[in-house]
C-alpha cells in the first residue's frame, strides 16, 4: 500500500485481494475522523466504500493481485467525495437487478450497489479513457 496525503485529498493503491476491503475502510475511517462526520453518516460511507472496493477487487480486477485498486478521498466544504478505480472492463450498473423486487429478494448477491446508492447522495460510474472503471460516490456535507 502506498499513501500520499495532501490537505484535501488522499490517494491510496491496493493490490486486488480481499484484505484490501478492510485496508480501504480503515483509511476512510481515519479520513472521516478528521472530518467529524456523525456516526450514522460514517457507518453508511464505510459500508459504501467496502462494497465499492469489493466490487473493484472481485468483479473489476478479478482478484488479480497484479492489478491495483485506487482509492481517492477528497474533502471540500460542500462534499466528501470517494472514487474507487479498477482496471477491469467495466459494466452497466443499470443492468444490475433491483434486489428489493419480489422476484429478486432471495438472490444471494447483488445488494452491494444498492447499499452504495442507499448510503451515498450520488453514485455514478465513469469509464476511464486510460482503461478501467471508476465509481464516484458523493456525500454532501
Amino acid at each position: 500500500m502506498t499513501l500520499d496525503v495532501t490537505s484535501e485529498t488522499t490517494e491510496l493503491r491496493f493490490p486486488s485481494r480481499i484484505e484490501a476491503v478492510d485496508e480501504a475502510a480503515a483509511a476512510v475511517s481515519e479520513f472521516m475522523n478528521r472530518l467529524g462526520l456523525s456516526e450514522d453518516v460514517a457507518f453508511g460511507v464505510d459500508m459504501a466504500v467496502r462494497e465499492a472496493v469489493t466490487n473493484a477487487v472481485i468483479h473489476g480486477n478479478k482478484l488479480d493481485e497484479a492489478k491495483l485498486v485506487e482509492l481517492t478521498l477528497r474533502n471540500s466544504p460542500e462534499v466528501f467525495e470517494i472514487r474507487v478505480h479498477d482496471q477491469g472492463s467495466g459494466f452497466n450498473p443499470n443492468e444490475v437487478p433491483d434486489p428489493t423486487k419480489d422476484e429478486n429478494i432471495l438472490r444471494t448477491s447483488g445488494r452491494g450497489i444498492f447499499f452504495m446508492r442507499n448510503f451515498m447522495d450520488e453514485v455514478d460510474w465513469l469509464p476511464d479513457p486510460e482503461g478501467g472503471t471508476s465509481v464516484r460516490m458523493i456525500k454532501k456535507r
Binding site: V21, R50, T54, I105, L106, T108, R111
Partner: protein
C-alpha cells in the same frame, strides 16, 4: 482472532449458533456457510442464529444469510434470527428481508416458535 467466532448450543431439536464478530466477504461469510452445511449434513435442520454480537455485516454476509435460509428451507428445515443489532435490523429493513426472516428478541420465544 477469527473474523467470526461461532459457538454451538443445543436446545431440544433446535441448534443455536452464537455468533461473535463480522459476517463479511471472505472469512466471515465462509465461516457461516461452513457451519450451516455441517449442521445440515448432521441432520440438524432447526437452526437459530444469535446475532447479538455481530457488529458488522456487508452485502456478502446478507447474501450468506439468504443462502442459509434457502438451503435450510430446501431440507424442510427452519432458520430463525435472534437479537439483531439496530444496524442489522436497518439493513434487513431497507433490503425488505425483514419480511422474509423470522426474527426474535427473546431466545425463549424463538425456541417456542420452532415447529
Amino acid at each position: 482472532m477469527a473474523e467470526l467466532n461461532i459457538s454451538e448450543r443445543q436446545a431440544g431439536e433446535v441448534t443455536i449458533l452464537d455468533m461473535d464478530g463480522k459476517i463479511t466477504i471472505g472469512e466471515g461469510s465462509v465461516a457461516l456457510r461452513t457451519a450451516i452445511r455441517r449442521l445440515l449434513e448432521e441432520g440438524k435442520k432447526k437452526i437459530l442464529l444469535n446475532l447479538a454480537k455481530v457488529g458488522y455485516i456487508d452485502s456478502s454476509g446478507i447474501g450468506e444469510l439468504v443462502s442459509s435460509y434457502t438451503a435450510i428451507g430446501k431440507e424442510t428445515g427452519q432458520l430463525k434470527l435472534l437479537n439483531l443489532t439496530q444496524k442489522l435490523q436497518d439493513l434487513l429493513t431497507i433490503t425488505k428481508l425483514l419480511t422474509v426472516f423470522d426474527v426474535y428478541e427473546s431466545e425463549e420465544e424463538a425456541l417456542a416458535s420452532f415447529k
